[in-house]
């Protein structure tokens, strides 16, 4: 049980680091879909091994939303944009370094949890939390709207992973609410970004700095 879950979490973390590394947004999108897939599998295995049929259903729903629906929406958002960022972006070396530091920070922060719990999956919790922190960092360094949304979604995945590992999922209604919210956020974001692109002619972050002071 612990071996399977920590392996899957570790794989998830590696994929997250890959997302940080990749510059072109289609590549990032595919990696995000893969990460979501890994998390869905994690949910399913937990459901089977820990004897919680609800988790399997949860993993299935997660799969449908995060691997099928949301990437298609993101693809629609990014369709008009150039594949590689025109301006030479920050070298990914520094961002990877910061991601590493964040992993260490995640371990440090999650120490009190390790002492309290006796769950078999306790070992993987810091990994999930690191995934969340890197997602947040991705959001911070996003160069355009798509980068921000992607960062947010990775952050969301990290939290979902943490919820799975720490508490075997949340009560039904809360979980449903969270999925519904995430889905609505992405749909609304698509609408808003569409309007912003029409009005501001671009969704690059430096172009969206008119409101100051």
């Amino acid at each position: 049980m612990t071996a399977a879950t920590s392996l899957l979490s570790f794989a998830g973390l590696v994929v997250t680091l890959a997302i940080v590394w990749r510059q072109s947004w289609p590549g990032r999108l595919r990696l995000f879909a893969f990460q979501s897939l890994l998390l869905a599998v994690l949910a399913a295995t937990l459901g089977v091994l820990a004897g919680r049929p609800r988790l399997v259903l949860l993993g299935l729903v997660f799969l449908v939303i995060k691997v099928v629906v949301i990437p298609r929406v993101l693809y629609r958002i990014g369709s008009g944009m150039p594949v590689r960022p025109v301006a030479p972006g920050k070298s990914s070396g520094i961002t990877l370094l910061v991601a590493g530091v964040l992993i260490v920070v995640a371990y440090a922060v999650m120490l009190p949890l390790r002492t309290v719990t006796a769950l078999p999956t306790a070992g993987a919790i810091p990994l999930a939390f690191a995934m969340a922190l890197i997602g947040l960092f991705l959001c911070v360094t996003g160069r355009d709207a798509l980068g921000h949304i992607l960062g947010f979604l990775v952050f969301e995945n990290g939290i979902f992973g943490l919820a799975l590992l720490a508490t075997y999922g949340l009560p039904g209604i809360v979980e449903a609410g969270v999925f519904l919210d995430v889905l609505i956020i992405v749909l609304i974001m698509e609408g808003v970004v569409g309007q912003v692109r029409r009005e501001h002619e671009s969704i690059d972050e430096p172009k969206l700095r008119e409101l100051r002071g």
Binding site: L136, V140, T141, L208, R209, R212
Partner: protein
């Protein structure tokens, strides 16, 4: 409509006077509405000290309201604020707990803010109102902090409990509230360096309001200081008394120095209010030091003298402000260099103003002299204290008071002389007309009050001493019999009534002598002698700036005057002049060194933080991440 409301205000003033005087004579009383407001609800209570200041509010409100009927005419805008202002001032001395006091205090400031904004379109008075509001808000912050600290120390929010818990306060729990309350009340009283708002706010308000503000609102700052030093934190340390005395001395000297060189009539009166507050604080400081050293009798004398000067100042300063208001009402300008020759056009106002000037310059038969004489005697009594450093402080106080009284004389000779006498310097002054009846009645009423206060120290002083006695906790010193006021036995004595009789007789003597020596009483009217030149114009007269020139040269280290001279030469030759403009403005010391740097620094920091909202979404998200990590580390 406004006449009705001002009448209501006058009636309210009368009621306040009656209640105040009753309070002074010992009739207590309290009213409490618990639950209306947190911290103990609204509670009012009347005690002798509160009664005195309530009476002062009342007696000044009556003539001011009568005056306002004539001054404001049909204008309805300022009336409600005026009513709120007077009633709030009435409530302050009666407040019995923290919330009531703060609400009354702030309502007073708010109402007077709107009254200062009387002339809304003039940017200068809008700035003055802003500075006034910010300074009174800062004062309120100090008061709030001081009072809440005391509430925490004594566990209750009512002043009566503070008075009973005062003796056993630990020194630590006494000094901080004392400083904060002192700062808060001093900023309202206009003590230097917290005075910058006063000379800009008082002149901007209509004259009956400036009279109330200068005459009474400033005294409520004094009321607060007396209440804090003698009632709430009663055995205050000796250094506090010395500090109050020195602050008073500095305020008196600096206040009058600025008043002497002032060109604007109402600003001159505002600065002179600062000076008189300084004189009151000298008396109060002396009283506190005497009590600290243990000379109870002298403490009662000094505090009674200070309160007496507060009452006197309320009377003659209101008279002067109402007079100035009549001048502004008639000529439309406050600049003394454009006035003059009003004595023939406005005889009543001129008479009352000269009378007020004589009173404030402490000329003998009037009330200014009596209270200044009492404060001098109180300071002279420091010989009974064996401590050298206190004697020197008192000597410094004496010298400051003497210099101030000399400069006050000069200042008010200028104010009365340049404004009213000789030839009008502008056609506005030439067209001036006498003030309406209600304004003149108010002024005469106040002049009467000055005469009564001048002739009646033997009545007023014992009443004030009975009021100060229980505060200081000492027995009343012997204050002489019906006619004369005696200070500690044979040291000094003064009997204004006898003095007035002798002066009257002395005035008759020259008339009789001239009749006896058969002097001729023929009088011929002719032009003033001007070295034989034919035309005698108003431009040859001395102006206010010229009059104050000797002081500017003597005290130039204080004024640091700038000499601005621009000459327009005649186009044809360099030796003939079209126009010469000479200005010799003084540079305000405190604004330049204390307030402007502070405001500039604040604006720089504000501009710096503006960059936080830079507009970039990444930066905003970075703030969230940084906040998260920081809190994780710190918490």
């Amino acid at each position: 409509m406004s006449v009705l409301l001002f009448g209501l205000a006058a009636a309210g003033g009368a009621l306040a006077t009656v209640v105040g005087v009753a309070g002074m004579l010992g009739a207590g009383g309290s009213l409490s509405l618990p639950g209306l407001v947190p911290l103990g609800g609204i509670a009012l209570s009347l005690d002798p000290l509160g009664g005195l200041f309530l009476a002062m509010v009342g007696t000044t409100a009556i003539p001011a309201s009568i005056y306002a009927i004539g001054y404001a005419g049909g204008e309805r805008r300022g009336v409600l604020a005026y009513l709120a202002f007077v009633s709030a001032m009435g409530l302050v001395p009666l407040a019995a707990n923290v919330m009531t006091f703060l609400i009354a205090w702030e309502l007073m400031s708010l109402a007077s803010y709107f009254l200062v904004l009387h002339d809304r379109d003039d940017p200068e008075s809008v700035d003055a109102a802003w500075l006034y509001a910010v300074m009174s808000q800062a004062g309120l912050a100090c008061l709030l902090a001081g009072m809440l600290l005391l509430t925490a120390a004594t566990g209750s929010a009512t002043f009566a409990d503070w008075a009973s818990a005062a003796p056993d306060l630990t020194p630590g729990a006494r000094v901080l509230p004392l400083l904060l309350l002192g700062l808060g009340f001093a900023s309202k009283a206009g003590v230097i360096p917290l005075h910058v708002w006063l000379p800009r706010a008082h002149p901007a308000a209509p004259s009956h309001v400036s009279a109330l503000m200068s005459g009474v609102m400033v005294k409520l700052g004094i009321y607060g200081l007396v209440r804090a030093s003698l009632d709430w934190l009663s055995p205050t340390p000796v250094w506090w008394g010395a500090a109050v005395l020195l602050a008073g001395a500095v305020s008196a000297v600096v206040g009058i120095l600025y008043a002497v060189v002032e060109r604007d009539l109402k600003r001159l009166l505002a600065f002179s209010s600062i000076e008189n507050v300084g004189v009151i604080l000298i008396g109060l400081g002396a009283g506190l030091v005497f009590r600290g050293v243990g000379l109870g009798g002298l403490a009662v004398l000094a505090i009674a003298a200070a309160l007496y000067h507060a009452v006197n100042h309320a009377a003659f300063k209101s008279l002067l402000f109402l007079g100035a208001g009549a001048v502004v009402h008639a000529t439309g300008t406050r600049n003394m260099n454009a006035l003059g020759g009003l004595v023939t056009r406005m005889p009543w106002t001129a008479g009352c103003f000269v009378f007020g000037a004589a009173a404030i310059a402490a000329l003998p038969p009037l009330n200014g002299f009596v209270s200044e004489w009492l404060i001098f005697q109180a300071l002279l009594q420091n010989v009974q204290m064996a401590r050298l450093e206190l004697n020197l402080t008192f000597t410094f106080g004496l010298a400051a008071l003497a210099l101030t009284s000399g400069l006050t004389l000069a200042c008010f000779v200028k104010a009365a002389g340049i404004t009213f006498l000789a030839v009008p310097r502008s056609d506005a002054a030439a067209r001036a007309h006498e003030a309406p009846v209600s304004m003149r009645a108010a002024m005469v009423l106040l002049a009467g009050a000055c005469v009564f206060l001048g002739l009646g120290p033997t009545l007023v002083l014992p009443a004030l001493a009975r009021l100060a006695g229980p505060l200081v906790g000492a027995e009343l010193p012997a204050l002489g019999d019906g006619l004369t006021v005696r200070i500690s036995g044979e040291f000094a004595a003064l009997s204004p009534v006898a003095l007035t009789v002798v002066l009257g007789a002395a005035l008759l003597a020259p008339l009789v002598a001239l009749r006896l020596l058969r002097a001729s009483h023929r009088t011929r009217w002719y032009e003033t002698w001007a070295c034989g030149r034919m035309l005698q114009t108003a431009r040859m007269e001395y102006t206010a700036t010229a009059f104050s020139n000797p002081f500017k040269r003597v005290f130039d280290f204080f004024y640091r005057p700038e000499k601005r001279l621009d000459i327009e030469f005649h186009p044809d030759s360099r030796f003939f002049v079209e126009r010469i403009e000479y200005a010799n403005p003084t540079r305000p010391l405190f604004e330049e060194w204390l307030y402007e740097p502070a405001l500039a620094a604040l604006s720089r920091v504000a501009a710096l933080t503006r960059r936080v909202q830079s507009g970039s979404a990444n930066a905003y998200l970075a703030y969230i991440l940084a906040a998260l990590l920081l809190l994780l580390v710190l918490a």
